[in-house]
């Protein structure tokens, strides 16, 4: 029986396996915690990868939208008594609205200019979070009310492992759908050459805006999940370093690769856990890893391995 599966279906199956298989065998809550963190980061990175890998637009402020999702989830219940899940949804809408508002002028910029503009936006967001102590708790951050579903409080790492795993699968499905739509084809066209895409009649500005808003939604959903899961947020969630981490995850895993986003997130989340033994060296090792990957495996882990595998399979 020759069952031919499309790449999209294979990616989806792989994602489900990545979530389910470890979920059945992990030995302790600590591992479920790390797993949930991997899935949450991967979700944010898929959004960034849509923007960077498929549409070719850089963002060094992705964590800013992550922070809006997280802080929306934290602030609305604390200040206005909203239920946490409604607050999370509102946080996501706010992030999308901000992306929509600033996207049009900012996405006209290219290369380094776009990088520095998005960086500036991310910095401004964290600065507000740090400065508005009365609302956000300032640099110390604030506690997040636990979400309750049908009287069941969501707090165990196992619960969050499955919730964030489910969100990741949904995120992958949405991304695959987007990429297989006319929008996806338009995005790839403008990645190759914005001028050529424009000449072909593609509304470049509009599609860039669509993917920028989509990326911010991914980041905000991930941020909201992190806030509800960890029960505490600090401005660090939106810091420049966090944005750099997201970019690094996307690049290490492979730009333009959905599975690469998951692998990249897994590497950068799990590695520091392993390295806590040498906590002193964490920043140093992260830097060295980034440099080595960028020099020796520039295409990223997943595309790199895939290329090697195809080379071996085809005589």
């Amino acid at each position: 029986m020759a069952l031919k599966l499309s790449p999209a279906v294979l990616i989806l199956i792989a994602t489900v396996l990545i979530v389910v298989l470890p979920g059945l065998v992990l030995p302790s809550p600590y591992y479920y915690r790390v797993g949930a963190l991997v899935f949450i980061s991967a979700l944010a990175v898929i959004g960034l990868n849509l923007l960077m890998g498929y549409a070719g637009q850089v963002s060094l402020g992705h964590a800013g939208f992550f922070a809006i999702g997280a802080y929306g989830t934290a602030i609305l219940p604390a200040q206005l008594g909203w239920p946490p899940l409604l607050a999370a949804a509102t946080g996501v809408v706010l992030a999308a609205a901000l992306a929509f508002a600033i996207g049009r002028p900012i996405l006209r910029l290219r290369g380094q200019h776009l990088a520095v503009a998005t960086l500036g936006i991310g910095m401004l967001i964290t600065m507000v979070l740090n400065a508005e102590v009365a609302i956000t708790g300032g640099p110390d951050g604030m506690a997040v009310a636990r979400a309750t579903v049908f009287g069941f409080k969501l707090r165990a790492p196992e619960t969050w492992y499955w919730i964030s795993g489910g969100l990741l699968i949904l995120g992958v499905v949405a991304a695959l759908n987007l990429l297989n739509s006319p929008t996806g084809r338009a995005l790839r066209a403008l990645h190759d050459s914005e001028v050529a895409a424009e000449v072909l009649g593609i509304d470049v500005t509009r599609y860039k805006l669509v993917v920028f808003v989509a990326a911010s939604v991914y980041a905000a959903v991930a941020g909201a999940a992190l806030a509800l899961f960890s029960g505490h947020v600090t401005p660090d969630v939106g810091s420049f370093l966090r944005s750099v981490e997201f970019v690094t995850m996307a690049v290490i895993g492979g730009l333009g690769s959905i599975l690469g986003s998951i692998v990249g997130a897994a590497v950068l989340v799990i590695l520091p856990q392993v390295l806590t033994v040498f906590q002193e060296y964490e920043t140093l090792v992260l830097g060295v890893m980034i440099i080595l990957f960028m020099i020796f495996l520039r295409g990223g882990i997943v595309p790199g391995l895939a290329a090697r595998l195809t080379a071996r399979l085809t005589p």
Binding site: H113, V116, I121, M123, A131, V244, E280, V285, L286, I295
Partner: protein, 299 residues
């Protein structure tokens, strides 16, 4: 105390202007180092601020080992130059031909390495150097200015002038300019552009380290001062029009002044936000920066 007479208003203004110029001079030097490397190689070097950290920290620690401060400062500049050369040889050269984003991530990697190594080599404390001409504030139009501020502003002026003379009047400087103008053409006329780029890394590292040494008596230094300086130096370079050395200096000074006035007259909480708000506004309204650098896309 709350005397709002004319002389007080003037004194406040001078006070803010002087502190703005001092900080701005450091941004200007970081932006200048940035521009040198960018022009020679199109690399946006996010590790530029780490050279400032290196200059200050190495001087402090070499002085603690018993070296007289001028000698310690000289050695610290040498340490930064060697680091700059190593960055070029070990990281930038092997990545030749990589795209802009990859190069940005690489230099971010370099900055993480330097910032990660600094607490291991030095420590995590804040450090100060004594002012070069003592600590007694000087009265200037009613404002009290630290004498070190004059060292910072004067030192910046000297570096900018020296760089200008070097680029315009020496053969090597002209080779740097030729490489910046057109790498391919420079190579065809027999210039070893790889040596030039390496040299620019060394020079940028030296400029950054000198900035760090000059400003440490005023702002103190620690292992993690580099990141924000890199970002603001980058902002200054973009503000001035990326790739334009004089624009970079002007951008740095302007950024410092705006920050200082914003902190003085508006709100000190949002002092740092000013830089980035201006940056975004400039990018959107005039993407060429103050120098109106034009970008033409070749298809």
């Amino acid at each position: 105390m709350d005397d709002l007479s004319g002389s007080n208003v003037m004194a406040d203004f001078v006070q803010f202007a002087m502190s703005g110029l001092t900080v701005g001079a450091v941004y200007a030097l970081v932006a200048l180092g940035f521009t040198l490397i960018y022009n020679a190689s199109s690399v946006v070097n996010f590790a530029q601020g780490e050279f400032v950290m290196l200059g200050g920290m190495a001087t402090v620690f070499l002085a603690a080992l018993g070296l007289p401060i001028p000698l310690a400062a000289l050695a610290a500049v040498a340490v930064a130059v060697v680091t700059g050369l190593l960055v070029h040889t070990l990281v930038i050269e092997p990545a030749r031909g990589a795209n802009a984003v990859t190069l940005i991530i690489l230099t971010i990697g370099v900055s993480l390495v330097l910032r990660g190594a600094a607490p291991l080599v030095f420590d995590k404390q804040f450090h100060k150097l004594p002012g070069f001409s003592g600590e007694e504030p000087v009265s200037l139009l009613g404002a009290l200015v630290q004498p070190q501020a004059f060292w910072v502003v004067g030192g910046t002026a000297v570096i900018v002038l020296a760089l200008k003379v070097f680029l315009a009047h020496t053969l090597f400087g002209k080779a740097v300019l030729a490489t910046a103008a057109d790498r391919m053409a420079a190579r065809l006329s027999g210039i070893n552009t790889s040596v030039i780029v390496g040299f620019c890394f060394a020079m940028s590292a030296a400029i950054g380290a000198i900035a760090g040494i000059l400003v440490t008596p005023i702002t103190l230094t620690s292992y993690d001062v580099g990141v924000i300086l890199s970002l603001k130096g980058f902002a200054a370079a973009v503000l001035g029009g990326i790739g334009n050395p004089l624009g970079a200096v002007a951008g740095g000074l302007l950024l410092g002044l705006l920050e200082s006035f914003a902190a003085g007259y508006l709100s000190s909480t949002y002092k740092d936000a000013v830089a980035f708000a201006i940056l975004i506004a400039v990018l959107i309204v005039m993407p060429g920066g103050l120098a109106r650098v034009k970008h033409v896309e070749r298809v």
